[in-house]
């Protein structure tokens, strides 16, 4: 009998806050409590911290400090970008079209769907290939007709696949379409050099790279005009009203710096463990396949389709063994919908309920990986037996009255 242990393999959902980040934030839960908008010394102290953080973030994004807008997180950044660009375009009497892919984070997809349904915008979904990457020819075709914004995810949350933003942004620019990317998953692992990537807007969220929750960034290239979607005081150059979350902003900057400075070590560590995990799972679970791109993917990220294994039931088995993982169709209310991402890739609705995402982190160890592979092998066998039985019984409704046999142990 194996010993139960705690293994957190859901770093794509959230990461623990690095102790160094915690330490950097602590003064802002204590003595530095002023409102950064205030003119007095308390306000000035807070403002100094925020502007210092902004400069440090700008150094990593290789942009001007004034191009960095602090937000309440990744979803908010996506909303500001998409709504802001859409409304601005409308204000100028320009394009109504919102170009995106079918494998975006819901903060982009749902915003675009709402603008399409309620505000007379026109959503345009550019197809993706079987690994979830945007089809460049189709993207060019879509941009040719112009657009208020084109938004393409950097690294997909469910699949880990990495889009070539450099090429896509060139296409968008060629046709004069402002280009936004949700880089929430990529942040802390991939380059965020906005010049090299060619993006006009970029969303980041601190809690994906060992920073705090509730704070993010929207990079807005100088010259890109957005109508503000959160109005109020003139914070963040009028782009995002609301008192600064000083502690969060300081934590974000610290976490981003650490991720940047330690990128080589982290990447090597992530890839080594992830590769061991992928090899182990593919061997241990018959029929398992890696979903997303085999190599062009986030170093920390492994995702699978495990045919015949209901993802929700599997997550329950993993949780009982102390393993925290996730699935594109996971839900807490027992009414799992097939993963829209897997459906967009051409998987069947049944297979799209069998996705599993395992994402490693800085503290994951080799023995964690081996333990997870061992538990997965066992749990997937048990579940396959169960569901095979269910399928048989569903044909035989109105069964004979004899109680069905329950296996003796």
């Amino acid at each position: 009998m194996r010993e139960r242990r705690q293994v957190y393999l859901d770093h794509s959902a959230s990461t623990p806050i690095d102790v160094r980040v915690q330490k950097a934030m602590l003064p802002f839960f204590g003595e530095v409590y002023g409102n950064s908008s205030s003119a007095h010394q308390y306000g000035r102290a807070a403002e100094r911290a925020v502007e210092d953080a902004r400069e440090r973030v700008a150094a990593i994004l290789r942009c001007q400090a004034a191009e960095v807008v602090f937000t309440g997180g990744g979803s908010e950044s996506d909303n500001l970008a998409v709504r802001g660009a859409g409304w601005r375009s409308r204000q100028l009497g320009k394009s109504n079209r919102l170009i995106t892919s079918p494998v975006e984070h819901s903060a982009v997809t749902q915003t675009i769907r709402q603008m399409d349904a309620l505000m007379g915008f026109e959503a345009e979904f550019v197809p993706v290939d079987s690994s979830g990457l945007v089809d460049e020819a189709a993207f060019e075709q879509a941009c040719r007709q112009g657009g208020a914004i084109a938004s393409v995810i950097y690294a997909n949350n469910e699949l880990g696949s990495i889009n070539d933003l450099t090429r896509l942004s060139l296409i968008a620019r060629r046709h004069g379409v402002p280009f936004h990317s949700d880089a929430v998953q990529a942040g802390g692992q991939m380059t965020l050099d906005v010049g090299a990537l060619g993006v006009d807007m970029l969303s980041l969220s601190a809690h994906k790279f060992y920073g705090p929750k509730g704070v993010g960034i929207l990079y807005i290239r100088e010259g890109i005009e957005l109508a503000s979607a959160i109005t109020g005081g003139g914070h963040e150059h009028g782009q995002r009203a609301g008192t600064h979350n000083t502690a969060g902003i300081v934590g974000l900057a610290k976490a981003l710096e650490l991720a940047h400075d330690e990128n080589a070590e982290r990447s090597a560590h992530f890839s080594r463990l992830r590769n061991r995990l992928v090899a182990g799972v593919l061997q241990a679970v018959s029929g398992a396949e890696l979903s997303g791109h085999p190599v062009q993917r986030l170093p920390s990220h492994a995702s699978f389709v495990l045919p015949g294994i209901d993802a929700n039931a599997l997550l329950m088995h993993l949780d009982m063994w102390g393993i925290s993982a996730s699935s594109g169709s996971a839900c807490k209310v027992g009414d799992p919908a097939p993963s829209e991402i897997l459906l967009a890739l051409g998987y069947s609705p049944e297979a799209a309920k069998c996705g599993l995402r395992l994402s490693v982190g800085t503290s994951t160890t080799t023995s964690d990986i081996d333990y997870v592979v061992d538990v997965l092998a066992d749990a997937s066998k048990k579940l396959r037996n169960l569901y095979a039985n269910d399928a048989l019984r569903e044909n035989g409704r109105q069964s004979a009255a004899k109680p069905a046999a329950v296996p003796e142990r």
Binding site: D310, N312, A313, M316, H317, D319, M320, K332, V333, G334, D335, P336, K382, L383, N385, L386, N389, D390, R393, E394, R397, Q398, S399, A400, A401, K402, P403, A404, A405, V406, P407, E408, R409
Partner: protein, 364 residues
């Protein structure tokens, strides 16, 4: 109680009984896992929010209680198999002119087969529910299913379809307590369920009652047809056989020289057969699909008490076993509401011996 320290999955509903069941098991030192089944919900009848069970609110309640007890809690998607077995059974039953009790089918096929198998796959040793029933070891090393201490709440009727394989894996922690004590326990344990109402009616009906449900899903059984006497005289029109229950007097909409009662239905002719009070009541029934909890009937012919619906009192009767899966019951006193499709559950005082499904009158 069975062996301590083992893993037990508790089927939780968010209600007081299953919550207290879970709490009692935690207190007794079991390794407890809470589970809730997401059963089918009918979009046309308001969706999950209007189900009688497993609504989002109840899930939230159950999750909070599990959290309070410090146990894991999971919701399982049971929608397909539940619809394919229990809901279909219910509709088919009505279609053949019976009044089925889907709760028994649910216990047999869903709780004590599907869910039990899930529990076993999760390395659990037992499955516990909040039913008011008791399990006691019998002389032969098996398990007796006994009525709950609180006879008003006793639910052995709906468990009478189980056998030794299931009972050896089952636990009914609240069956040893009166309902009032269970409510009191919930309050003592600080579980925020104590004041909730007992669940009523079938869980999957949604907004409305079973008639609305059938109108939607089996409109053919809700078609108007003749109301006839046993002599064949047509007295009026009914609005669908499933609207009526055997023994019913009110709501027939007939004027006749004496009160009329529903005696039977004839689904082939879509006719509702009515008669006078003296025609009502029979002293015998035939039951099919028999299940004997110990694995066999106590004798080929024996004295017992038989319950013909969930809310009925057990009545003294002679039971004659007619085949491996059927038996006859002859009551000491005629019963007014013997209804095909309901279960005839056989008791030896507090011990539930087994059950069968009541066959149609013309077959009896």
């Amino acid at each position: 109680m069975k062996e301590r320290g083992k893993r037990v999955v508790v089927a939780m509903s968010g209600g007081v009984d299953s919550s207290v069941a879970a709490a009692l098991l935690v207190r007794a030192g079991y390794d407890v896992v809470g589970m809730m089944m997401r059963l089918w919900s009918d979009p046309a009848m308001g969706g999950a929010a209007h189900n009688r069970c497993c609504t989002p609110t109840q899930m939230g309640d159950a999750r909070r209680i599990a959290d309070q007890l410090g146990i894991p809690f999971y919701v399982l998607d049971t929608q397909d198999i539940f619809r394919g077995t229990v809901v279909e059974y219910f509709i088919d039953g009505h279609r053949s002119g019976n009044t089925p009790n889907p709760c028994l089918e649910c216990n047999r096929r869903i709780r004590f087969e599907w869910l039990l198998n899930h529990a076993l796959a999760l390395d659990a040793d037992y499955l516990a529910t909040g039913h008011y029933a008791r399990l006691k070891p019998d002389a032969a090393g098996g398990w007796l299913l006994k009525r709950g201490i609180d006879h008003n709440k006793d639910q052995s009727y709906v468990l009478s379809v189980l056998g030794q394989a299931q009972l050896s894996r089952a636990m009914f922690p609240v069956g040893d307590y009166p309902k009032a004590r269970v409510r009191q326990l919930a309050a003592e344990l600080g579980l925020h369920v104590a004041s909730r109402q007992d669940s009523q009616d079938l869980c999957f009906l949604g907004r409305g009652d079973y008639r609305d449900f059938l109108r939607l899903h089996a409109p053919d059984v809700m078609q108007a047809g003749p109301i006839v006497t046993t002599a064949g005289d047509v007295l009026g029109e009914h609005g669908g056989l499933a609207n009526y229950t055997i023994g019913q007097r009110k709501g027939l909409g007939l004027s006749y020289r004496e009160p009329l009662y529903v005696l039977a239905t004839n689904p082939l002719r879509n006719a509702l057969i009515v008669g006078t009070r003296d025609q009502l009541g029979r002293d015998c029934l035939r039951a099919e699909n028999a299940n004997w909890i110990s694995g066999a009937p106590p004798d080929s012919q024996f004295r017992a008490q038989v319950k013909i619906r969930y809310r009925a009192q057990p009545q003294r009767a002679e039971v004659v076993v007619t085949s491996a899966d059927s038996f006859h019951v002859r009551f000491d006193e005629p019963q007014r509401d013997i209804t095909a499709g309901q279960a005839a559950v056989v008791y030896d005082n507090d011990v539930c011996l087994g059950s069968g499904v009541i066959a149609k009158f013309e077959d009896a």
